[in-house]
Amino acid sequence: MREQGERDNLYSVYRSNEFVNRNKEIERIMKFLKERQRGVIILEGDRGSGKTALLLELFRRLNQMPEYRPFFVGLFPYSAPEFEANPNLWLDAHQKFHAGQILELLKKLAQYWQVEIRETDSVELQKEYLARELSLRSAAGVPLLLVDSIYECDESLRVELETNVLMPLLTLERVFILLSGRGKRPIWGRPELQNAEIIPIPPLHKEDVSDQLKKMNSPRPSAEYEDIADLSGGFPLTVRVIGSSPPEVPLSRSLNQAIDVLLDQALSEEAKSQYADIRHHVEKMSLLDIPFRIAEIEDYLFPGDPEKTGKTDKLIRLLLQSFILRYEGKGYRLNSSIVYPIRKWLEMSEQQSDLRKYVSALEQVSQQLQERYPKAATWYSRMLPSVRQTSQLN
């Protein structure tokens, strides 16, 4: 079961003291800022890889550098208590940013960047004024805008933000924009956006995981740190969720919770409304060892259902929309950031019966496919090798 409130707290409050080793990335970003007059940086990584944390960490550091005037915009609800008093932060712990707030944002930006602009009710005019005034601005400090999770928001909002906030800023001679996000990046309307500096955010190393657990004062015994590093695959969000659980909670339950968090972050609104079903099917799909096409998994996912094709088709659409699936040559493949923790979780002793059930169903489907399509038998025999190993191990 989902434990909404508890889970929300786990990833909706940012604390910089938990931040661990991203020195390489920070160094690269700082170098970019130092060497260029203007430009766009995009932090990119899977869900739970720590993009927001890094962006906020950058924000924290930039605040201490007088040559920059950073302004942070969070588009999704979470809080960062240590910055609560900052005037250069747009963050709402309770609701998402919406297009109607752009006018206000523009005014806040003007205020913070110390330019006087005529106030209007028109975003169109307001952005013009802001751009013009900023270009004539004499105050010290390069304007620097940090926008978190810009690719996860609705396309229309993203376009509004680009048009009315990013584009006007990019007309300046001195300006930096730092964005974070995953998933697909659209083609950009401005060359600066097209040619952004992409900074990938990889998972953490084992030692960094331990470091994170220590920094967050995890109640989990240190003997478990290695297991947590393994189970989390080095994703700071997963580490955080597991690490915050009380020691009496089994690791399996914590990991389960982390998976919910990951999926919840990934799924589109439409997909979220069918969360339980999707979670169930994603679990089953994560066991497939080869890319798959609809016809070979419909029986596995919806056995005996006359509408299996349509249901699988719909599921695929939702997962593609949520960017946790993509087509890779031979078929669809789930994103490894989802597959990894789910497989780890299924392999834990509590889920053994489910795992066995899934594996046996998959074996059956694989067998049927091999019989039915002798020419493709080799391919279909590969549907579950690693899982077979897993089940044998257990």
Partner: protein, 984 residues
């Protein structure tokens, strides 16, 4: 346009200025130019043609501008007829439409002729249509200039040794000779070159389309940006560096440019990765990116599997989604630069290159097995269902026509024709597409059964070709041939079926002739075909036997139906086919063996039927049915059943005949082929007539007439009126005589109409039948006229004259029973006129007929019963003859009251009933005689009857009438007229 959809079609046209300037000059000049425009895939040929079209529309002094291109992608354009239709459609609703009035009319006639079943008329209409199409174009060209734009013309060049699409022969004959304007053929280089070679010696221009220069790429991308801005209000710009990358990635090929933009829009990393990759991984990358787009991916995958077009219903079926979802998904696909749509066509096609890419990267992979099978299953189901729907819809409409609420013969049914034709054409398209998919997709009908799609596709091909050949649908035959030829050319490895396909294709010419009523057993192609069969490499012995038998069967059929009918040769060929097939064959060929042997038996049955040997015909039909049962071929089974019934009817087995005919009718409704339905009603009507159920006969004749009229089936209409007339004539005397005159007047109208129609059709045997009926009607009008009417003599003369004419014609045509029928009716004519002298002369004339020799009875036996049995109809004629003599004697006895006359009467009547029983217990000719006899006998008193009965016994004894044939005695007993003292 969202940013994800930069790959959508661009409305602005970019580049190609040189060629556009040239095109403008062509349109301005007083000459005509044929231009071959070549370019590799995706280079923008179609887009250029569209631009030329726009350009032409803007020229005020140039008139003949179509509203669309003619795209050779559609196989329907590969026949001359299909191409002419496409040209008509291209000029539809343009100012030039009027030039094609005659062509459109001929097309209507052609469709009518087709609906009305196979005859030479369709062939004539087709010829007219093609001629008028060219004439229309020529006039248009002369007066205002004409522009013809042909796209995807490489499709006209068939793979392997197959040559060109059949339409090319027609097209190249006239296209180079038009006076003013231009015809532009755009296609891939290899196709264009082949066409150019074939057109060598003719004047034409050649132009090539090159890849975009970097400058053109820049213009294109900037145009995309402008379009994006104008549609969404969002500004969009590209870095020079990016434009360079896009140019390099796309190789300057517009289709790739559109795809790259799409990918750049959806997935910049994929784009970056693509740029670094090799061509193969670049293509794979494009496919991966497209297939990762939610909804679009699966829609594209589905579209690639159905190159004959994807509509919402089919998409919904393949993906298992709702119709509404499918409509929206299809709309999205239709927006893409690589999708093709056509006016008035809801289906979406893909750019050729996209089909090739999907084939290469998605469908040819072993990993596609399950997905492919699943899609194939759904495609099959869709077509099967659609086909069934069309059958049911047609069937429903035919039923409504056949059995309307109010029984008005003349109520207009013509209005139904257009809708029926539309449905028939739809069904034709479905059939062709079904063959296309069946050949390519494995279908799992039963989990244990491995499907052989080629075998199944070939069966379907054969079925439809056979149906078309026997129901006069030449159009579908031409398209089927193209389908199979192209499929054959696609086959890389020989395999089991490849040589068999080659053999089957040899049949097409003969099927086409049969469908257009031009059968010719002496067609030299037959010999060539037999020879070609021997030369097909790796043709298996069993395959060879089956194909040979197939050729023989159709040649035998041609011997029966051609103008110079040769029945002996037909029998030889058909018997030989049957004999050769009476052996074990490879399991895979069993179906074909059965279907050929069944047909051979049916045609042999038909042959025996026309030769009057109904018993043999019945046996042949029964054999044929046995084989057709094994192949589940309703079309054949229906015909066999009906024909079996017909033979049984002619043989006097009315109960079985009716049952078989009714079954046949229901089967024909199931497959909903109108001409066949009409013929079934005709058979039923005849059978009811022969068995005396006149009301039913009339009702069925009427049903047949209504359907026949709706589809313009003149032969069916004529048949209907013919039978309807006879039913009325019989009713006139079967019911109270008050209405007789009315019935007869009505019957006269129908029979006159039938005679006229048959004369128009020129069918000799039917003219004889209908004229005989007309003669009988004149005679019966005499019967119904008042004794003192001055008309009696006039009816008498007309009837006699016509009967003599019919007898003569029947003799010439060697239709013995009709000759005898006519001659016998002259006796009855004399009887009803009361002119016994005339009657006695007629009796003599009748007795002299050579054909009757085997039937004469003396000393307890017939002259040659074996020979007589072969034409059962003649028994009935002799029976009618005896009955007439008996009645004349009875009349004479009434006047003279001499025992001698009564004895003569008793003798003839005894023999009449004996002959009748040889044919059928209840035959219409004698049935009415029975009524007349009964009416005459009830007037006799007890003594007279007693004497008559004694004479009957005497005759039976003297003539040694076999006990089972002593039917007159039984008749008298049945009517309580038997007054014989047992002791005496």
């Amino acid at each position: 346009m969202s940013e994800e959809q930069l790959g959508i079609r661009l409305s602005e046209f970019v580049g190609r200025t040189e060629i556009l300037n040239e095109a403008e000059a062509w349109l301005q000049s007083p000459d005509f130019r044929v231009v071959f425009l070549d370019g590799s895939y995706g280079i923008g040929k179609t887009r250029l043609l569209q631009q030329v079209l726009e350009l032409a529309k803007a020229q005020s002094n140039f008139g003949g501008v179509p509203n669309r291109l003619v795209d050779f992608y559609h196989f329907s354009c590969h026949t001359a007829e299909g191409l002419a239709r496409a040209i008509l459609a291209a000029f539809e609703e343009t100012a030039s439409e009027k030039y094609f009035g005659l062509c459109v009319r001929s097309l209507d006639n052609l469709e009518e002729a087709r609906m009305a079943g196979g005859s030479g008329k369709a062939a004539q209409c087709l010829e007219d249509m093609l001629r008028y199409c060219v004439e229309g174009l020529r006039q248009l060209s002369e007066q205002t200039g004409v522009l013809l734009l042909f796209d995807t013309v490489e499709q006209y060049v068939y793979p392997g040794q197959l040559g060109f699409a059949p339409a090319w022969e027609w097209l190249k004959n006239w296209v180079f000779t038009l006076p003013r304007g231009a015809a532009i053929f755009a296609g891939r280089s290899e196709g264009i070159n082949a066409l150019k070679n074939d057109a060598s010696g003719k004047a034409f221009l050649s132009r090539s389309l090159d890849l975009f220069t970097p400058e053109e790429t820049r213009k294109y991308i900037n145009a995309v940006a402008r379009e994006h801005q104008s549609r969404t209000g969002q500004p969009l710009s590209f870095l020079d560096e990016d434009i360079d990358k896009l140019h390099r990635a796309s190789g300057g090929r517009p289709i790739w440019l559109a795809l790259c933009l799409q990918i750049r829009a959806c997935n910049p990393e994929a784009f970056t990765a693509l740029l670094k990759g090799q061509p193969q991984s670049f293509e794979q990358g494009v496919i991966n990116s497209l297939l990762s787009v939610p909804d679009l991916g699966e829609t594209l995958k589905a579209a690639g599997r159905v190159p004959r077009g994807l509509n919402a219903e089919l998409l919904a079926g393949i993906r298992g989604i709702s119709r509404r979802e499918a409509e929206s998904a299809l709309g999205g696909l239709g927006e893409m630069a690589f999708a093709k749509t056509f006016p008035n066509d809801e289906r979406i096609f893909l750019h050729d290159e996209m089909y090739i890419l999907l084939q290469k990267y998605v469908y040819s992979d072993a990993a596609d097995a399950a997905d492919r099978a699943s899609a194939g299953q759904k495609i099959y189901r869709y077509y099967k269902e659609k086909r069934k729907q069309k059958d049911e819809e047609l069937s429903r409409r035919y039923r409504e026509l056949a059995q309307p609420a109010d029984e008005q013969v003349n109520r207009s049914v013509k209005g139904a024709a257009a809708a029926l034709r539309e449905l028939e054409m739809e069904r034709r398209r479905l059939k062709i597409e079904m063959v296309y998919y069946r050949l390519r997709y494995e279908i799992c009908k039963d989990t244990s059964n491995q499907d052989d799609p080629i075998a199944a596709g070939l069966k379907r091909y054969y079925r439809y070709a056979h149906e078309a050949a026997t129901s006069g649908d030449d159009a579908i035959l031409r398209l089927l041939q193209i389908e199979l030829s192209r499929f054959l050319a696609e086959q890389e490895a020989a395999g089991f079926w490849q040589p068999f396909m080659r053999g089957l294709l040899l049949m097409n010419e003969f099927w086409l002739k049969a469908a257009s009523g031009q059968q010719d057993p002496d067609n030299p192609s037959y010999e060539e075909a037999f020879e070609s069969l021997q030369q097909i490499p790796s043709l298996d012995a069993d395959q060879c036997v089956i194909l040979q038998a197939l050729l023989k069967t159709w040649r035998g059929t041609d011997c029966i139906f051609s103008k110079s009918a040769n029945y002996r040769r037909a029998k030889e060929l058909l018997s030989s086919a049957i004999q050769e097939l009476s052996r074990e064959v490879d399991q895979r060929l069993e179906w074909f063996k059965n279907v050929v042997i069944s047909l051979a038996y049916r045609q042999l049955g038909y042959l025996n039927r026309i030769l009057g040997d109904f018993s043999s015909a019945i046996v042949n039909y029964q054999q044929g049915l046995r084989y057709s049962r094994r192949v589940d071929f309703i079309h054949e089974e229906a015909t066999l059943r009906n024909d079996l019934g017909f033979a049984q009817m002619r043989n006097g087995q009315f109960v079985a005949a009716l049952e078989n005919m009714k079954d046949g009718l229901q089967l024909r409704y199931q497959i909903a082929i109108a001409t066949r339905i009409v013929l079934s009603y005709q058979s039923l009507s005849q059978c009811y007539l022969e068995s005396g159920v006149y009301e039913e006969s009339r009702r069925n004749a009427l049903s047949g007439i209504r359907v026949a009229e709706a589809i313009g089936f003149a032969r069916g209409v004529a048949f209907g009126h013919y039978t309807y007339a006879e039913a009325l004539r019989r009713l006139a005397f079967a019911e109270s005589s008050q209405n007789a005159a009315d019935y007869l007047r009505d019957a006269q109208e129908h029979i006159d109409h039938a005679v006229r129609l048959f004369e128009d059709l020129g069918e000799q045997d039917r003219i004889i039948d209908s004229k005989l009926e007309q003669a009988c009607l004149y005679r019966d009008r005499l019967r119904a006229a008042d004794a003192d009417s001055s008309m009696r003599k006039s009816w008498f003369d007309r009837s006699n004259k016509q009967l003599l004419e019919v007898a003569k014609k029947a003799k010439e045509a060697r239709i013995a029973y009709r000759q005898a029928d006519a001659m016998c009716n002259r006796i009855w004519l004399g009887y009803y006129m009361g002119d016994f002298e005339f009657a006695k002369q007629a009796i003599k004339d009748f007795e002299e007929l050579d054909v009757l020799k085997p039937y004469w009875f003396s000393g307890g036996r017939f002259n040659d019963e074996g020979k007589a049995g072969s034409n059962a109809q003649l028994w009935a004629q002799v029976a009618k003859f005896c009955a007439a003599q008996g009645m004349i004697a009875l009349k004479e006895w009434e006047q003279a009251k001499s025992d001698e006359k009564l004895r003569t009467a008793a003798r003839h009547l005894t023999l009449a009933m004996m002959y009748n029983a040889k044919f059928a217990v209840d035959h219409r000719g004698v049935r009415e005689g029975r009524r007349t006899i009964h009416q005459a006998l009830v007037k006799l008193n007890e003594q007279e009857l007693s004497r008559l009965c004694r004479f009957v016994l005497e005759t039976e004894q003297n003539e040694s009438v076999p006990a089972e044939l002593c039917q007159f005695q039984k008749f008298l007993q049945d009517h309580a007229l038997w007054f014989v003292d047992k002791q005496s």
